[in-house]
């Protein structure tokens, strides 16, 4: 019974992965004849001299350091505030909409919202006495715009998990806390939050993994610009490998690096946050 699944896994995942590693050591370029020769680690050395690759790493790190924490805070805040609120079920469904909207549709929608002349965001800023912002035309505003879209799209994911976790907290512990005089903020800070910690860590990890491969928002809104201000690692790999010239060898090296960095980061975080123990999966 399990054999077809194994075969499928090997064919669809392991083989392409190994093939990608192999290609990363070649100069394969589909736009040119006679490429595909083995060139050793040349592609990897080139990455460290590639200004565009380094710039893409910078923005990806910014997303991890700014967008992910904000998603976590907003998601946690929403899940806490929504509990026992009037219209909870309706609001819960509404909050999940951004996550369900396809990224292409969401990105296109935000592109219109951020439009310099016709966009409602600049219109409302104008009503408040602010000058219109060239959202996609300036380095900082473009980065902020991409982060806003990311936060809008993925806060509901954090909310969904933490809201479910809050509902599932053991009632007896909460009741014991209440008997001891804890309520409201104290109950949340000293009882609920510590109980949520394992789930928060896992959610954080999932979001980091996801942000490391952020692509669609950038593709639909800024296309990595202005300059390379909003190019993420995945988007850059896409441009090199697919969009601008089919440089499969170099693009594969970029992807291999991304996999390695992700693996190291996840492993380190898992150890630092002690996720195995928090989830009761390890005996340490």
């Amino acid at each position: 019974m399990i054999l077809p699944a194994i075969v499928l896994f090997l064919v669809m995942t392991i083989y392409p992965f190994i093939y990608m590693i192999y290609n990363s050591f070649t100069n394969l370029d589909l736009s040119k004849k006679g490429t595909g020769q083995f060139i050793g680690l040349k592609n990897y050395f080139e990455i460290f001299q590639d200004r565009l690759a380094i710039s893409s790493i910078e923005f990806t790190i910014l997303l991890v350091l700014i967008a992910v924490p904000l998603e976590m805070i907003f998601g946690l805040g929403l899940s806490y505030l929504l509990r026992d609120l009037f219209g909870e079920k309706v609001l819960r469904s509404l909050f999940l909409i951004p996550m369900m909207v396809p990224a292409a549709v969401g990105g296109f929608g935000w592109k219109m919202l951020f439009n310099f002349i016709f966009g409602p965001i600049n219109y409302f800023l104008g009503l408040l006495g602010f000058q219109p912002i060239e959202w996609f035309g300036k380095l900082n505003s473009a980065r902020m715009a991409v982060m806003i879209v990311e936060i809008w799209q993925w806060t509901p994911f954090v909310f969904l998990i933490l809201y479910a976790a809050l509902q599932a907290l053991p009632k007896d512990i909460l009741d014991a806390g209440k008997v001891d005089g804890a309520s409201g903020w104290k109950l949340f800070m000293y009882i609920e939050l510590p109980l949520l910690r394992p789930i928060i860590y896992v959610t954080l990890l999932l979001r980091i993994i996801d942000v490391l491969r952020a692509f669609d928002t950038v593709y639909m809104t800024t296309y990595g610009g202005p300059g390379s201000a909003t190019s993420t690692w995945s988007f850059y790999a896409y441009k090199v490998t697919v969009s601008y010239g089919w440089n499969i060898g170099y693009g594969s090296a970029l992807c291999v690096i991304l996999v390695i960095v992700s693996a190291i980061l996840i492993n380190t975080l898992t150890r630092i946050l002690n996720i195995g123990k928090e989830l009761g999966l390890s005996k340490e």
């Binding site: 589909l30 439009n115 310099f116 996609f136 380095l139 296309y223 990595g224 010239g245």
Partner: protein, 442 residues
């Protein structure tokens, strides 16, 4: 009885095979898709044994899709509608039509008339001596302006008071700066439009052709030709005749200075692309816009630009125009039968009749001399009259296989220069040229 039945059966199978429908699959860019779909319908009426399916892809997706098909030799598409600047890369998977015509004289329409094709349009489809595509869309950039505002006596008088010269459609970018300033509200409170000009300098392939409309006047000037040599058909205006980056020079810097000088009079130039600038002109936000030929129909139907003949003016680019041609080629890795059917279709789609029809119905700029000279065509689309002068000296991008990579590096660096993130110095351009040479393997 049995043998008779067998004969009938064999005859039935043979006749079914003879009248079997061949399906050819065409992959097209969205700019060309509507016209190709219409032509496919017309073609199928005349050729009921051939079915034509047209698949539409966006510009960004089309090129990698064609390359993937060619590299895998999968034959997913039989006819490619390709941007001529990808000629070097696409040619490896396209049938040489010169050779195909020699080998299949029975398919050639005697009225096709190769000599009627406009020379540059035809030559851009030739790579390494092979004709890898029939020219389909002779797209070029035009300068659209608000005719009513330029002809308004009040604005003429005010402009002359302000700048000491008459208001006219700019013929150089330096002239365009004053006009753009006049039509920008924040610099002239009496301006009828919010901004003077809509510019598109985003970090996409748009940037690469927009630079050429500013660099072109320098590259094609007497000084430019003397210093850089004539323009090479494969390497285009970005290069010198000995195939070195020509933009890494004082003339290249001047082009950037011209671009920067206009930016204050444009709404969000670095964040606006094709769609945004179309809207800005169509909604009456700006007085001028450099745009391709085909948006004309959108402008013509815009409520803010009515009556269109009084409000939409069309002129040659103040600098130089840039070619944005498209061709139709046949996949090398498909069966002979499909190649023959595909040839019939691309020959039909680029015939004299089709050239005129697609111009009148879809504003697809013509590839034939006869269409340019056609009175009905000139009446239908006003820019047809200005095309001959534009086609005579328009610039074009490189067609070498490395073009997309060069384009990407340049788009990013150009945007950084225009935003001030990189200094506008010869050193910056030299560094970019060094990156180009690395890509070119020099």
């Amino acid at each position: 009885m049995r043998s008779r039945l067998l004969v009938v059966l064999v005859l039935a199978v043979l006749s079914a095979l003879a009248f079997a429908e061949v399906t050819i699959s065409v992959v097209a860019c969205s700019d060309n898709a509507d016209s190709l779909k219409w032509l496919a319908q017309e073609f199928m009426k005349k050729n009921p044994d051939i079915k034509v399916d047209v698949t539409t892809l966006s510009w960004e997706v089309l090129y990698p899709r064609i390359l993937a098909d060619i590299s895998a030799k999968s034959g997913a598409f039989d006819v490619f509608n390709w941007d001529v600047m990808t000629a070097g890369a696409v040619s490896q998977g396209c049938v040489d039509l010169f050779e195909f015509i020699k080998q299949n004289p029975d398919l050639v329409d005697p009225e096709y008339d190769m000599d009627d094709l406009l020379p540059l349009a035809k030559n851009l489809g030739i790579w390494d001596g092979k004709l890898v595509g029939f020219p389909y869309f002779n797209n070029t950039m035009l300068f659209y302006y608000r005719k009513d505002l330029f002809e308004n006596p009040k604005h003429k008088e005010e402009f002359e008071k302000m700048f000491g010269r008459p208001l006219r459609v700019p013929t150089t970018w330096a002239e365009a700066v004053d006009v753009a300033r006049y039509f920008t509200k924040s610099f002239n409170k009496n301006s009828p439009t919010q901004y003077g000009i809509a510019l598109m300098f985003p970090t996409t392939h748009t940037m690469f052709y927009m630079y050429l409309i500013f660099f072109g006047p320098y590259r094609r000037s007497v000084e430019g030709i003397t210093r850089f040599g004539p323009v090479d058909l494969d390497y285009g205006d970005y290069f010198t005749s000995d195939r070195k980056p020509a933009f890494a020079s004082d003339l290249g810097l001047k082009a950037f200075e011209d671009m920067k000088a206009l930016m204050p009079y444009s709404p969000d130039p670095l964040g606006s692309d094709y769609g945004e600038t179309l809207e800005y002109f169509a909604k009456g936000i700006v007085a001028m816009v450099p745009q391709w030929t085909n948006p004309y129909l959108q402008f013509k139907s815009s409520p803010a630009l009515q009556p269109a003949e009084e409000k939409i003016g069309i002129a040659p680019m103040p600098g130089r125009s840039v070619a944005g041609n498209w061709a139709l080629g046949i996949n090398k890795f498909i069966s002979q039968e499909k190649q023959r059917a595909a040839f019939k279709f691309i020959q039909f789609a680029t015939s004299k009749w089709a050239d005129k029809e697609k111009l009148i119905r879809f504003a697809i700029a013509p590839v034939r001399k006869s269409t340019l000279a056609d009175v009905e065509a000139q009446k239908a689309i006003p820019w047809v009259k200005v095309l001959p002068s534009i086609y005579a000296d328009e610039t074009f991008r490189p067609r070498i296989p490395e073009e997309p990579r060069l384009e990407d590096i340049s788009n990013i660096n150009f945007a950084k220069i225009l935003s001030g993130e990189l200094p506008l110095t010869i050193d910056t351009l030299n560094k970019l040229a060094a990156e180009w040479e690395k890509v070119l393997g020099k």
